[in-house]
Amino acid sequence: MAKHTLIAYVEDVPGVLNRISSLFRRRNFNIDSLTVGRTEQAGVSRLTVVVEATDAGARIVEANLYKLVNVLRVDDLTHKSALMRELGLVKVKVTPQTRAQVLQLVEVFRARVVDVDEETLVIEVTGTPEKIGKFELVLRPYGIVEIVRTGAVAMARGSALLSSAPPLVRTDTSADHGNDDSGLSMSV
């Protein structure tokens, strides 16, 4: 079992998020995080789903996502060179004695202070989910009042195209999937 990061392009229609979350629940997969937002294309939303699964399980998730009528394409970035980012806001308690120490940690993590009052700081931190987890860890001794995380978004590096069919198959219409003899084998 490992964390798998899947990207899904979906039609921006009512209920589409429900269809996706229902699929994960129904097939008994646990969503680690799910983010959704607009894309460069009108009417198309992009989801980043992080799910705890085996490689075989991730393939089943991917194939099932493709089965949803509103899903345009899916890509599993887990084993590809990809960027992953998450944003967190952390409200931490500070005293005149600890304020400097916290600000130093903010510096180390290349985070930003976005709100200050007598007793707290709100810090904005971006990076991989692991980095944000680490940041939370080091701030914990000072007293975390609240924390909010956006969930990871991800993007493949370079100019390689995303797939447009479930693993191990090709479609008539997918021009970008034609060179699929690459390494994808039907046999598992």
Partner: protein, 615 residues
């Protein structure tokens, strides 16, 4: 052309070639029912419960290969459809359900008869729509039909608000063509995989074809038989695959799985190659996955990529339409006979522990297996569709009724829906009015949807209902007998006098208590004009054999107990699949009453039957 949303619904149904719809009116669908009067070409069948409407649409779809249509109102009307939709989903049956919804302004207010129907049916439909504007109805319905019947078929629901039905919009059929950029009904495997599949087939010593419903959906019976014949490969079918390979074909071993023939399951365990065609390795077929077909490489052909490696890891997956796949694989397959493999299978067929009802003595009791086998003998020359419910009678039907043609057996396989048979049979009769439609149903399942007898009566159609009445929920009782020390919790069951019930519906009712009367009862039923209900009062505590307990290894089956009065022959050498011509109905030698042996030509070779009553 400006039309109301309700009129657009009927225009679309007409354009989709719909000739019959099954439905039940109500508040939120009233505008649509009002508009129906302008479209007399489409026949509306008034059901007695919305579950019946969905099963009828399902039965219609399975019998005809076309899309079945069910209509209901919002709230309870739509939720009553849920069982039928789930049934169609599990068995990949193409139906379109149209439901009324409260006015768009009232959505979310808990209005009278409001239910979030698209939410409720989301996991049990292939896709669904909530339509709130009349201008969007046509596209939703066109897409619904396209999605329902393409790729792996399935149910699609279109929920239409009352105001969308009442308001007008431009009806533009051409402009409403499906726009489904994310929908991929079919795929193709890379060419190299076809060669790999052919290599596996050519190098196999003990290959076996697992034939599923996908063959029926793709209409490839002839192609599969050609492949099997060329390469000398035995075929076994799933429950839903029954009929896709003629029972009389020497290549057909019979049904696999929990109540499959012992030799079939043993062949699966011994095979070195399984060629799965349009089947999905359901747990009722595989038994314990950890020990399933460990000697075999596996080739899996399915149109649905999510079925690949779901339950059984496979060596070669050919995702796509079976017709295309077979056309590419078959030419690369070499001729073979596999005579050693056939010899070993045929030796197992002679296993004395396999069931054989031809050796059952007639103890004066009526056995369900006899009823069904006799029903087959008496109806095999006629064009017959049998629709079964779920339970013991369903398995006996699968074992003892020999289906020669695709679509001649309709049954709820995946969901196992009791109450399916009668309404599905009514739907099948509308699809195939010239065929005989028989319902084989238990006394439990029949009572779940027996209200649809009124539908059959009102429509004046003829379905022949054979109730296999053992006064028990038989399959559950069997499990209680085997696995719960015979503690029959909530399985003994009474019912109405089914003959009087039929008469109350102004239909003919018949009762049959003895083997001797089966023939005349069936003949009377066939001769009668309308729907007939037969109460076959059978042995109460009979069980289906062989049986692989749930989760057990496929070849570890419970055999028929030897001490039982339902003795089996010492040898099954003479047991063979009777061909349609070889086993005519024996008119000259009818059994005449209690204690008489079977009217079979083989009786001389059988051991003398024991006359003692069972238990």
């Amino acid at each position: 052309m400006k039309l109301t949303g309700a009129e657009i619904i009927w225009e679309c149904l007409q354009k989709e070639g719909v000739d019959v719809v099954f439905g039940y009116p109500g508040g939120a669908i009233l505008p649509t029912y009002d508009a129906m009067t302008k479209y007399p070409k489409i026949h509306h069948v008034l059901v007695r419960h919305e579950q019946g409407a969905t099963h009828m649409a399902d039965g219609y779809a399975r019998a005809s290969g076309k899309v079945g249509v069910a209509i209901a109102t919002s709230g309870p009307g739509a939720t009553n459809m849920v069982t039928g939709i789930a049934t169609a989903m599990m068995d990949s049956s193409p139906i379109v359900c149209i439901t009324g919804q409260v006015g768009s302004k009232a959505i979310g207010t808990d209005a009278f008869q409001e239910t979030d129907v698209t939410g409720v049916t989301l996991p049990i439909t292939k896709h669904n729509y909530l339509v709130t504007k009349p201008g969007e109805i046509a596209r939703a319905i066109r897409e619904a039909f396209y999605i329902a019947k393409s790729g792996r078929p399935g149910p699609v629901l279109v929920d239409i608000t009352k105001d969308a039905q009442q308001m007008t919009a431009e009806f533009d059929w051409e402009g409403a063509a499906p726009r489904l950029p994310g929908y991929r009904p079919s795929y193709h495997a890379p060419m190299s995989e076809y060669a790999r599949a052919a290599d596996l087939i050519n190098s196999a010593k003990r290959p076996l074809i697992l034939a599923g419903q996908g063959i029926l959906k793709s209409g490839t019976t002839a192609e599969v038989l050609a492949l099997a014949k060329k390469a000398g490969i035995p075929i076994t079918t799933t429950l839903l695959g029954i009929g896709v390979i003629p029972a009389s074909s020497p290549l057909n071993l019979g049904m696999m799985g929990m109540h499959g023939e012992a030799w079939v399951n043993q062949a699966i365990q011994q095979a070195d190659l399984l060629i799965a065609l349009g089947m999905r390795f359901d747990d009722r077929v595989t038994g314990n996955l950890k020990t399933y077909a460990l000697n075999a490489k596996k080739i899996h052909v399915d149109i649905d990529p999510t079925e690949i490696n779901k339950n059984v890891p496979v060596d070669v997956a050919l995702i796509g339409d079976l017709r295309e796949v077979l056309a590419l694989v078959e030419p690369q397959v070499k001729k073979a006979t596999h005579s050693d493999w056939w010899t070993s299978i045929n030796a197992q067929r002679g296993d004395a522990a396999v069931r054989d009802i031809q050796a059952l003595p007639d103890s004066g009791h009526l056995y369900a297996a006899h009823v069904i086998n006799d029903l087959w003998r008496l109806t095999q020359k006629r064009d017959t569709i049998v629709v079964t419910d779920v339970g013991q009678h369903q398995m006996w039907e699968a074992q003892y009724y020999r289906h020669e043609k695709p679509r001649s057996l309709i049954t709820s396989g995946g969901l196992g829906t009791m109450g399916f048979a009668l309404p599905a049979a009514i739907g099948a009769k509308f699809a195939c009015p010239d065929k005989d439609v028989w319902v084989v149903v238990g006394d439990g399942g029949f009572q779940m949807t027996s209200c649809e007898l009124a539908t059959a009566e009102q429509e004046g159609i003829k379905v022949n209902v054979a109730i296999i009445n053992n006064s028990f929920l038989g399959m559950v009782r069997q499990w209680q007998e085997f696995f719960y020390d015979k503690r029959y919790a909530a399985t003994p069951m009474t019912g109405p006098d089914f003959v009087k019930l039929a008469e109350a519906y102004r239909l003919k009712g018949l009762r049959c208590n003895t083997r001797a009367d089966v023939k005349s009862t069936v003949e009377k039923t066939l001769a009668a004009k309308g729907t007939v209900v037969i109460d076959f009062v059978v042995e109460k505590e009979d069980s289906v054999f062989p049986m692989v307990p749930a989760g057990a290894d496929l070849d570890k089956m419970i055999r028929r107990p030897k001490q039982d009065v339902m003795l089996e022959s010492g040898s099954d050498k003479d047991w063979e699949m009777p061909s349609a011509s070889a086993a005519p109905v024996k008119k000259s030698a009818p059994a005449r009453g209690r204690g008489k042996t079977l009217p079979t030509t083989k009786k001389a070779t059988r051991p003398a039957p024991r006359k003692s009553p069972r238990r």
